[in-house]
């Protein structure tokens, strides 16, 4: 008896939006720490932002696929370091590889069910790219996946400018995460920020609840 053909028909454990922007000294990305099982908030404290070699990645979509992608990229980076010749992949090179992997899997009609955001730098400039389960890819100074594309991307495009400080970038992404927390059902108030500097230095902040959210009954709120 032949084994049945197995392929992903739908994502199972899913993460929601990832948002990211470039700023003066690097790239900042953010996501919450929820992994949902359908409409169940199943895992509430999972890090969806990962540092791999010269880049930071984050993803919405199937979490197991994301873990596998993380493994693939780590292998690629490690393989290069084993030669001990000082060669290291840059973020755009790893992004190119990731795009090919995503496209290869879509061509086998067995996609990695994700939208992956990759951050890093190239030649002293910040790099921020995004690739989806079809292999569709682009680099852009503002990126948002999932509901973030509808809710956060307009805010980011309006308020982003190239010489943002880290504090300004942080405040802007916090604003987006707050909007997503209010309107996207599959979110949790435990948000994580991660940044990668132009020197390749990565900092993954510990998850923390968003401040400034208001949940009082509408009648008691006096709007500014």
């Amino acid at each position: 008896m032949d084994a049945p053909i197995t392929r992903t028909l739908e994502p199972i454990n899913t993460g929601t939006s990832v948002v990211g922007i470039t700023y003066k000294d690097g790239v900042l990305i953010a996501s919450d720490t929820l992994v949902s099982y359908g409409s169940l908030s199943r895992f509430r404290s999972i890090q969806r932002l990962v540092s791999i070699g010269p880049c930071l990645i984050g993803a919405s979509g199937d979490y197991s696929d994301f873990q596998h992608i993380t493994d693939l990229l780590t292998q690629k980076v490690d393989e290069a370091s084993f030669h001990q010749d000082g060669f290291q992949y840059t973020a755009p090179e790893l992004f190119e590889y990731l795009c090919r992997v995503m496209y290869e899997r879509r061509s086998k009609v067995n996609p990695y069910w994700n939208r992956v955001v990759m951050a890093g730098s190239k030649q002293g400039k910040p790099f921020l790219g995004c690739v989806d389960l079809y292999g569709t890819h682009y680099a852009s100074p503002t990126v948002a996946t999932g509901y973030g594309e509808q809710l956060a991307q307009p805010i980011l495009r309006k308020e982003w400018h190239p010489d943002m400080s880290l504090e300004e970038a942080h405040a802007l992404l916090e604003k987006c995460m707050r909007v997503l927390l209010y309107r996207d059902c599959y979110t949790i108030n435990k948000v994580q920020f991660a940044r990668i500097g132009l020197d390749g230095q990565t900092t993954i902040e510990p998850p923390a609840p968003l401040t400034g959210t208001r949940w009082e009954a509408p009648l008691t709120i006096t709007l500014p």
Partner: protein, 234 residues
């Protein structure tokens, strides 16, 4: 014993489509001594704009440019494949492939993927051996035709009659002479701006590649040799 006349109902299997349409419009015009290939730079994802600045053009040789609408992931791979095939041709035959030969090669490559096609809708512009502009238009599986002008993509239905009226001029009592290069560039800007008014998948920026006999004949405002023009409003 009677067997039921109705076939058993099989559970419908879930199928994911490996195709997506990222929209966009291409336009190519063949002039007496020039060819123009133009496209917008919007990348759509359903009703969302994923990115405002993604090129649909690829310069394949000094005198040949391709513009591709359809699925962005397929386009990226297809353009990459064409570039390697153009290089390979040069290594093998010691000369650059002509636009006409390249046009046939593109058709062959597309038809080679007949049973899992590239979701690419191409226009190709270049100059022939006499230095006249040539334009080719394709479907996804490699049917192609040489034409005086061509358009593909989400705004093609809006563009086509405009091109018929201004370039072919079949039903005009008073015919205008063929457009000069500069007239054609101005026309392309206006035509694409018009399309971007009504087609939501077309907009943001316009890239125009102008191919003429002298050298790498592409209007240059940016380093990549392609002029970029803002479409519509900010």
């Amino acid at each position: 014993m009677l067997t039921p006349a109705v076939a058993p109902i099989e559970a419908k299997k879930k199928e994911w489509s490996p195709y997506t349409d990222n929209g966009g419009t291409t336009l190519a015009i063949a002039g007496p001594d020039y060819a123009i290939v133009a496209a917008d730079t919007r990348l759509s994802n359903g009703y969302s704009i994923s990115c405002r600045d993604v090129t649909k053009l690829a310069q394949l040789t000094q005198h040949c440019v391709i513009g591709t609408a359809g699925m962005q992931a397929d386009r990226a791979v297809f353009h990459k494949l064409l570039r390697t095939r153009v290089d390979y041709f040069k290594y093998k035959y010691g000369k650059t492939i002509t636009p006409t030969a390249l046009a046939q090669m593109i058709a062959n490559i597309l038809y080679g993927h007949r049973f899992f096609p590239y979701y690419c809708f191409n226009v190709v512009g270049g100059l022939d051996a006499q230095g006249h502009g040539v334009v080719f238009s394709y479907d996804a599986v490699g049917s192609y035709q040489a034409l005086p002008y061509a358009t593909t993509g989400s705004g093609a239905q809006l563009l086509e009659p405009l091109l018929d009226s201004h370039i072919a001029q079949r039903n005009r009592t008073q015919k205008n002479p063929p457009m000069s290069k500069d007239e054609a560039i101005a026309f392309v800007k206006n035509a694409m701006a018009s399309v971007s008014e009504r087609d939501i998948h077309t907009g943001d920026f316009l890239e125009i590649a102008v191919i003429t006999r002298e050298g790498t004949q592409i209007i240059t405002r940016e380093a990549d040799g392609v002029e970029r023009i803002k479409l519509g409003f900010d």
